[in-house]
Assembly symmetry: C2
Homo-oligomer: 120 residues x 2
Amino acid sequence: MQLLDEHVLNTLKWDQDGLIAAIIQDHSSKDVLMMAWMNRESLQKTLEIGETVFYSRSRATLWHKGETSGHTQRVIAMHVDCDADVLLIQVEANGPACHTNNTSCFFRTMTDFAEKPEQL
Amino acid sequence: MQLLDEHVLNTLKWDQDGLIAAIIQDHSSKDVLMMAWMNRESLQKTLEIGETVFYSRSRATLWHKGETSGHTQRVIAMHVDCDADVLLIQVEANGPACHTNNTSCFFRTMTDFAEKPEQL
């Protein structure tokens, strides 16, 4: 995919930490798999390699999804919302999105969570 | 729906502004419609009335989606992600989610956006 030029990058609305939220959706099932954050570098890297690359806020580093697990996400399409402050990325997932091995990080209903909030 | 008790509310991971991201998905088409923010009060209000109520960061006030437009979103299901810092809410939408009158706020591809970043 084509990298974004400086003007386009500047038109996206980055938060105070220079990040933008990226919602990851399975392009085939349309399940929402996860939400993560991107900085400018990780977005460009995602466009460059055609797989999701996020910015890990806890580790303060780029995070190529699946780098160690092999559960990469190939980018099929990318959308920008009306405010240009959220990305929606449709992917073909090569394995579960979640570190718990669930297909999606949203595997708990609010009811399940309310009953056992500490349990994953 | 049942309101969350204090312990469950405290187990959700609110950001430094006391907010949590809420991804809104059409329960039938599975299209992702929008992303918005909730504080504790708007989440409880959402559970209480069964329609989405967000926290508007720009107006610093609760925002019952569709209050003026009539384009309310009836909550069908609610999920919490593995980190408990993002909500996924499946809704039945009574009209377009976007203020542009598009069904979804994600109506622009990144390619469209890169060509005309200022145009909605």
